[in-house]
């Protein structure tokens, strides 16, 4: 797939780029939203917009660092457990009389440390990230239960819980859109407009080559895990405030929804490929589709079937398309050689 960057672009290539997977997903997202607004009653209301944003908030925020990690060819499956542990710690600190203004930065720093542990195991010790983060998935979730047990802490101040569920000035734009937009811009700039971001694609395409090109592969990946931990902890805080409930099982299974959205957004699980607009569209597509189908009284099981099918297609179709392209190119080369 690196041909797009290697060859000089002709007009045909430019059109071809529009037909890339993330282009298709962005288009599909727009189609789904327009169709649902016209065809599903109560979908296009401002209140539903608020609900939709609140529902996709945890997925979209965690998907930002996850995109960067998957672009380098690694993965972080411990995000939902970091979220749960952050939620537990938040409840525990609150019960022990710490102020919420202190708890929030403290929990984010702890999240960064948890991410740093992942980063250390993966990069300093060279262990496979899939195995490491499956391990810490269990470990961090276990610690969350050690901290808070089976109980819940619920008496957080309304100033904070109300802010998370509220809208800007009581209008139709939810407050949580502020951190979402801010972080999306930050991660977007880092990935697409900095040498650091470009180096992630190089690492994902071939980390040996990246290393010999002077990229500090291990250090780069390490900081991605730190960012992932910190963002997951932040989401743990927002989650806790949204549901006014600090619990050890908060966010269970979220890692799969996040990875699903990232892959649906056109990021290759093998690394080196994908972009943030595609991922954002992937998240919105999944959330809007679920929201619309639920308003149409489609059952939860059927919803799972729809999202599962979408995910399989998102992995399958780009592969089919690229293999067709490759075989076509080979034929061309063969024909050229024959003539």
């Amino acid at each position: 797939m690196s041909d797009a960057t290697a060859n000089p672009r002709s007009l045909k290539d430019g059109l071809g780029r529009l037909a890339t997977w993330d282009g298709i997903i962005i288009l599909l997202t727009v189609v789904v939203i327009v169709a649902a607004s016209l065809g599903v009653s109560n979908f296009g209301t401002s209140r539903n917009f608020t609900f939709l944003i609140l529902d996709l908030m945890p997925i979209v925020l965690v998907a930002l660092p996850m995109t960067l990690i998957i672009v380098t060819g690694e993965i972080d499956l411990s995000v939902a457990s970091i979220l749960g542990l952050a939620s537990s710690l938040m409840g525990w600190f609150w019960n022990n009389g710490l102020s919420i203004e202190m708890i929030i930065p403290l929990v984010i720093v702890i999240g960064a440390v948890l991410g740093a542990i992942n980063g250390f195991l993966v990069n300093a010790l060279g262990l496979p990230s899939l195995a490491v983060t499956i391990g810490t998935l269990a470990l961090y979730r276990g610690l969350a239960f050690v901290v808070l047990g089976d109980g819940a802490v619920a008496d957080f101040p309304f100033d904070y819980t109300g802010w998370v569920t509220g809208t800007i000035g009581g209008g139709s734009v939810p407050n949580v859109l502020i951190p979402i937009v801010a972080l999306a811009i930050v991660f977007g700039i880092v990935l697409h407009a900095t040498p650091f971001g470009r180096s992630l694609y190089a690492i994902g395409a071939n980390d040996q080559a990246a290393h010999f090109a002077g990229i500090r592969v291990a250090r780069t990946k390490f900081w991605l895990y730190v960012a992932s931990g910190a963002v997951s902890a932040l989401v743990g805080i927002l989650w806790t405030l949204r549901y006014s409930s600090a619990r050890a099982d908060n966010g269970s299974g979220l890692e799969l929804a996040v990875v699903a959205a990232v892959l649906l957004g056109g990021v290759s699980i093998f690394g080196g490929k994908g972009n943030l607009p595609g991922v954002l569209a992937g998240v919105v597509l999944l959330a809007a589709l679920q929201n619309a189908l639920r308003l149409q009284d489609v059952s939860g099981q059927a919803l799972n079937i729809v999202t599962g099918t979408l995910l399989v297609l998102s992995v399958l179709l780009p592969n089919v398309v690229s293999s067709i392209r490759t075989s076509r190119q080979r034929r061309k080369v063969r024909q050229a050689a024959a003539s």
Partner: protein, 359 residues
């Protein structure tokens, strides 16, 4: 990354600085925060007991999760009641019983402008903000099975009081043990709220003089998992050969324990009792393994919840203590403290009456 010590140091000291700054700022703590639950108290409408029950009410049931046999019976009772009320019945729910998965469903029901939401809360607080949004939108909220916080629902259908169930379990155990001997409890998980509350009542009951010859030797936990419960029952009988009764206050535990005993040579020597579903227990009652067990009728819970919702939506009641309303075939109910409505004492099932029940 070992060359990055200096950067790490910078990051650490920066974060410590942030901590230090925020620590100095005082701020909102558990003690300083006033207890604003954000509760959206309904406008102080007064009840009109003679108001007509509205027809065509949209009544939606949101259980803890779908495809749970017990929940299906509860919501089935609700469906019957909504039919009698000439309303529109709807059943929605998540596939997993996690704390927050119900919120999206509540939001959807708000969007669909239902008249009544009947909910079994997976987490009493997590559903609160959205339930209050529903109430602000004029939807009446009735909780059943597992209550939501008091300030975010209009009424709660309590299947039975904790005290009533604990007493009933102790009484059955004593009768089956002949008034003396070793008994054991096979519970759900060590943290199960309901089970622990009932076991606490049982322990208090057992301390009374009339039960002084009964000895509770062990409380085992089968985690509401069939296989684990089966093994725990087996373990109890091996560790305590003189055991006379196993009391299992969970439908999974009592069925697993009965299955083990009915296929072992303990059959007839050890009695099993507790809380069970008639359909699951029928064969063990018929083959003599189980003499009696108890449960409220789950279909009646859904039935009563639907009628309560209709009475609220019709303005016959507001959820205040002392208000009375009629619940179809179940008769008249009075709302207790904090909007609680108690279904009644648990039903005891024996070989004589079990065939009258199908759930």
């Amino acid at each position: 990354m070992f060359r990055s010590h200096r950067r790490l140091l910078t990051a650490t000291s920066a974060s410590l600085l942030v901590l230090g700054l925020s620590a100095c700022g005082g701020g909102t703590t558990k003690d300083s925060a006033e207890s604003t639950g954000g509760g959206a108290a309904q406008p102080g409408a007064s009840a009109n007991p003679n108001a007509e029950t509205k027809a065509g009410l949209k009544i939606a049931f949101l259980p803890k999760q779908l495809n749970n046999p017990y929940t299906d019976v509860e919501t089935g009772g609700g469906k019957v009641a909504v039919g009698e009320l000439k309303g529109e019945y709807k059943l929605v729910g998540p596939n997993d019983a996690s704390a927050s998965s119900q919120v999206s469903y509540i939001n959807t029901l708000i969007q669909q402008q239902q008249d009544v939401i009947v909910v079994a809360a997976n987490d009493p607080n997590a559903v609160c903000p959205s339930l209050n949004q529903a109430r602000q939108a004029g939807i009446k909220v009735v909780s059943f099975d597992s209550d939501a916080s008091k300030d975010c629902r209009d009424a709660f259908i309590n299947q039975a009081t904790t005290q009533g169930i604990g007493e009933s379990l102790t009484k059955m155990a004593s009768e089956l043990a002949g008034g003396e001997g070793d008994i054991a409890i096979l519970s759900a998980t060590p943290n199960a709220t309901n089970q622990n509350a009932w076991i606490d009542v049982m322990k208090k009951e057992l301390a009374k003089p009339e039960y002084s010859k009964l000895k509770l030797v062990k409380t085992a936990y089968g985690n509401d998992d069939d296989q684990k419960s089966f093994q725990e029952a087996q373990g109890l009988l091996q560790s305590y050969p003189n055991l006379k009764v196993i009391v299992s206050p969970t439908t999974v535990g009592i069925a697993a324990a009965s299955r083990y005993v009915s296929s072992s040579n303990y059959k007839g020597k050890v009695a099993i009792t507790g809380l069970g579903l008639p359909n699951q227990m029928r064969q063990y009652v018929k083959d003599g393994t189980v003499k009696k067990f108890a449960l409220w009728n789950p279909a009646d819970i859904g039935y009563l919840a639907a009628f309560t919702g209709a009475a609220l939506a019709s303005g016959q009641i507001t959820g205040a203590e002392g208000e009375k309303f009629k619940a179809g075939k179940l008769g008249e109910y009075t709302i207790g403290a904090a909007g609680e409505i108690v279904l009644g004492p648990p039903t005891e099932f024996t070989a004589e009456n079990i065939d009258q029940f199908n759930f």
